[in-house]
């Protein structure tokens, strides 16, 4: 009885150790993915997990190009450009199960002009935050989605 319990516990321990190793692998190699921000399930939490409590102000210095109507939410093309001295640019979809979609960390030689295609589960506000000078600058746009693109 004791012996089998010990074997069982050893196996559990090994499985847990293996899982931890597998889950941590990408971060060991690259060490930069904001797991808690990507895992957040509402907009405010996602922003706080990514940026802490930095002040947010609306800004005209961010150009967001996105369709006003997306026929299929699986592929919504967006482009973002800014004249701000950006340190990072993050894209949030308010009504997605996990609002943070992607985050560009601007490098010294990288221009602040990026494009990406994202998924939107339903009609929602698209929010772009630019981190510059220790503050957050925001622009947003509503995208109407005819067919959602998050599966399920």
């Amino acid at each position: 009885m004791n012996q089998s319990r010990r074997q069982f516990m050893t196996r559990v321990g090994k499985s847990v150790a293996f899982l931890v190793a597998v889950v941590n692998l990408p971060r060991v190699v690259w060490a930069n993915w904001s797991a808690s921000a990507f895992g957040a399930t509402d907009l405010d939490t996602a922003i706080v997990e990514r940026y802490g409590n930095l002040a947010i102000a609306d800004s005209d210095a961010i150009q967001l190009k996105a369709p006003s109507i997306a026929e299929h939410g699986a592929v919504v093309p967006i482009s973002i450009a800014t004249t701000l001295a950006a340190k990072s640019i993050s894209v949030f979809v308010e009504k997605n199960p996990s609002p943070l979609s992607c985050s560009f960390n601007i490098q010294p030689k990288m221009n602040t002009d990026v494009s990406v295609r994202i998924r939107m589960g339903a009609t929602s506000n698209l929010i772009v935050l630019v981190e510059a000078d220790g503050k957050l600058y925001r622009t947003s746009q509503e995208v109407k989605v005819t067919i959602g693109g998050c599966g399920g």
């Binding site: 990408p26 930069n32 990507f38 093309p77 482009s79 990288m110």
Partner: protein, 99 residues
């Protein structure tokens, strides 16, 4: 991974298409079981030993992610490296020639 890079006005303009399923972890298979999440988490580009692009992705980036960006410096004929890693630790790296 498909990458096109061209030198233009002192910058290198890069357009890339990464072949990847980008499973969200929310989809179900035919038997109603959840398909585990499998998505790219980071993409980067390095030119002359300097990181010139870095992006973190979540599962809500479209299947076969398309990314476009540009970086300063870099001339026609030179090369740079594009790399990605996913949540399972799978990764790919490719050398790109600037046109």
């Amino acid at each position: 991974m498909k990458v096109k890079a061209s030198a233009r006005n002192g910058s290198v303009v890069v357009k890339t298409l990464l072949a990847h399923p980008m499973e969200t972890g929310r989809r179900k298979d035919g038997d109603g079981k959840l398909i585990p999440g499998h998505y790219i988490t980071e993409v980067e580009a390095n030119h002359n030993g300097e990181r010139v692009f870095h992006c973190e992705l979540g599962p809500s980036v479209s299947k076969d992610p398309y990314l476009a960006f540009s970086f300063q410096g870099g001339n026609s004929g030179e090369t740079f490296t594009m790399s990605w890693v996913d949540n399972k630790g799978e990764n790919e790296s490719t050398e790109v020639e600037i046109r």
